[in-house]
């Protein structure tokens, strides 16, 4: 990883500290600054309210020319989070072909929060969950809340 990339990650961290989105905590390890642990509270107005989610943000060696990788370590029932042991989230600005170097980590964090409040079922990684979200919202909400109780307490 280039010195420039490290410098930028440090700067990003500084910016995140100055302006941390509410309900978020970032655990930053200077020895391993390319892997951030993010503790995220389910937003009040979302079905994930009350849950505490652990996320990992991994910066690739080519950062900022390649997007950071976001994955949920806590299981979450969400159309945009893969329902496997990876829990990966890949959409919008995080997509390799959408990513632009000027994108900031803070805006990535805000995107994650926005997605918890309003999933993007049209750009889903889990088609079946997205379908349920669109067609049977009641059932979706029920399962999502159930998972919060089961995995995110």
């Amino acid at each position: 990883m280039s010195a420039g990339a490290k410098k930028r990650i440090m700067k990003e961290y500084g910016e995140c500290m100055k302006d941390t989105p509410s309900g978020m905590k970032i655990n930053f390890d200077e020895q391993n600054m390319t892997e951030w642990e993010i503790l995220l509270d389910g937003p009040e107005q979302s079905i994930y309210s009350g849950g505490h989610f652990k996320l990992k943000m991994t910066f690739p060696t080519e950062y900022p020319f390649k997007p950071p990788v976001v994955s949920f370590k806590t299981k979450i029932y969400h159309p945009n989070v893969s329902n496997d042991d990876k829990g990966s989230m890949c959409l919008g600005m995080l997509r390799p072909d959408e990513w632009k170097p000027p994108n900031k980590v803070v805006s990535v964090l805000r995107l994650i929060q926005t997605l918890l409040i309003e999933p993007n079922a049209d750009d889903a990684i889990e088609p079946s969950i997205a379908n349920e979200y669109k067609e049977n919202r009641k059932e979706f909400d029920k399962t999502a809340k159930d998972w919060v109780k089961r995995y995110a307490k």
Binding site: G4, K7, R8, K11, E12, P64, F65, M93, P96, D97, K100, P101, P102, N103, K104, S107, P127
Partner: protein, 468 residues
């Protein structure tokens, strides 16, 4: 009736070449004419008929035929089928109706016969034409590798497929394409001027799925045309390039597409895909994600050339380039820039440290901010040359940050003023005042305003082709 299944099966199909089959309308018995003559050996009736290729009296008797058919036990539920066999949805099934086969002349005698309610026999003769320069002296041998294994595979796929009324030994012979002229119709090569022709005759039976008797799932009906298209395509391949590889289904079908692989992969449970055909949601998803992976970068513009990157104008940071707070940073490395520091400016007037933007441009020919390419493309070369020729660039400064400014900025279609998509960030805007443009040319952190431009850019590339 008193035959074993396999025997009856083989006997009932008419001999294509030399033996006449007889059929009794009274007791529906069948026999060889040269063995028992014209009178039914079973009931003594004279109401008999010679079964001919193009006229099979059994066709008219089908509904009752099953009482002694060799497979009558497997589909009893279909015995109550409508008396008219042509009611069957597939009675006029012709998968090749719309199939444009360039070598149609090589395929003849493709016949569909109904041998029972919901059952069809298909017979085809395929003439394989091998040009002498390709096959060389080994024409016959060259034809063997594809045909032999393929025929046996086809038999095993379709199940019950047997060459018509030929003992297994002869079957092997004809399906091997051995050049023994005159054994039976369609088994020997006909040598014409400068080319060899191989005949291959085989027939296949296709069994519908039967809900009442869930047996081993053979080839379902709807894959029939697939099988045959695969068959035709396989025979259309040049000899010798035919891989009968047991590992084949594991290969990426997009890399080595081969009808044989498609057929083989059909036999693999869980992979309900055959080339472009899919039979399950999972297979469809797999193909779609494969396509998306292939296009993940194909969609984006390629790298800019090193020359183009090096020829980008460099200029010192001026007071006007700083933001309202009197400071600005290179949005790639996020380092603050100082007045007088040299930065590289792209045609869209976004600027960055040269090493930073060079790194990005060497992989993507887009502005990191607005995605506008730096390479002159045919449709915007007029503008770009304007920009790059002398001091015209300031006068032509566009304002990529303000979507509103794009309105009314379309050209008149002349080479000097080409039509531009409204959201294209790069266009001549002579009315724009210089001050406004420079105050907006610095990096900004909000990306939302650019997303439209980026999309428009990609759309434009889609319509007008890649930049170079």
């Amino acid at each position: 009736m008193d035959h074993s299944d396999g025997q009856a099966h083989a006997d009932r199909t008419p001999t294509p070449a030399h033996r006449d089959m007889m059929y009794c309308h009274e007791c529906r018995d069948e026999w060889f004419r040269d063995e028992h003559g014209l009178t039914c050996p079973e009931c003594g009736s004279d109401f008999t008929e010679i079964i001919e290729e193009d006229h099979d009296p059994r066709d008219d008797e089908m509904p009752g035929h099953n009482e002694h058919a060799e497979d009558g036990d497997s589909i009893p539920s279909l015995e109550e089928a409508p008396p008219n066999p042509h009611d069957h949805p597939l009675a006029h099934h012709n998968p090749f109706r719309d199939h444009n086969d360039p070598e149609e002349g090589d395929i003849s005698n493709l016949q569909w016969r109904q041998v029972g309610p919901g059952r069809f026999a298909v017979t085809g003769t395929i003439y394989r034409t091998i040009s002498p320069n390709r096959g060389g002296g080994g024409n016959q041998n060259a034809g063997n590798p594809p045909i032999g294994p393929f025929a046996s595979m086809l038999n095993s796929i379709i199940g019950g497929a047997r060459p018509r009324s030929q003992p297994q030994g002869q079957d092997g012979q004809s399906s091997q394409g051995q050049p023994t002229p005159g054994t039976s119709l369609g088994s020997g090569p006909r040598v014409t001027l400068g080319e060899s022709r191989f005949h291959y005759t085989s027939s296949a039976r296709l069994y519908p799925r039967d809900a009442d008797h869930p047996g081993p799932q053979l080839e379902p009906m709807d894959e029939l045309n697939n099988v045959l298209i695969g068959l035709m395509a396989a025979f259309g391949e040049p000899p010798g390039q035919h891989n009968h590889d047991p590992q084949a289904p594991g290969n990426d079908p997009h890399v080595h597409f081969n009808p044989l692989l498609a057929l083989l992969s059909q036999m693999m449970p869980g992979n309900a895909a055959a080339g472009d055909f899919v039979y399950s949601q999972e297979a469809l998803d797999r193909i779609i994600s494969q396509l998306m992976e292939q296009n993940a970068t194909g969609n984006a513009p390629g790298p800019a050339s090193q020359d183009d990157i090096n020829s980008l104008p460099r200029k010192p940071v001026t007071v006007e380039m700083l933001g309202p707070e009197g400071r600005a940073e290179c949005s790639i490395c996020m380092e603050e820039v100082l007045i007088g520091e040299e930065v590289t400016e792209l045609p869209c007037h976004h600027w960055f440290h040269h090493p930073c933007v060079a790194m990005w441009l060497s992989e993507h020919d887009t502005c990191p901010h607005c995605r506008h390419g730096i390479t002159k493309t045919s449709e915007n070369s007029a503008n770009s040359s304007n920009d790059n020729s002398g001091g015209a660039s300031e006068a032509n400064a566009s304002n990529p940050q303000m979507p509103g400014a794009f309105a009314g900025a379309t050209g008149d279609g002349t080479p000097e003023h080409p039509f531009l998509l409204p959201d294209s960030p790069h266009h001549p805007a002579p009315n724009q005042d210089q001050g406004a443009s420079s105050s907006h040319s610095g990096p900004v952190s909000g990306d939302e305003s650019h997303s439209g431009g980026g999309f428009g850019e990609r759309l434009r590339r889609g319509w007008f082709g890649p930049p170079r």
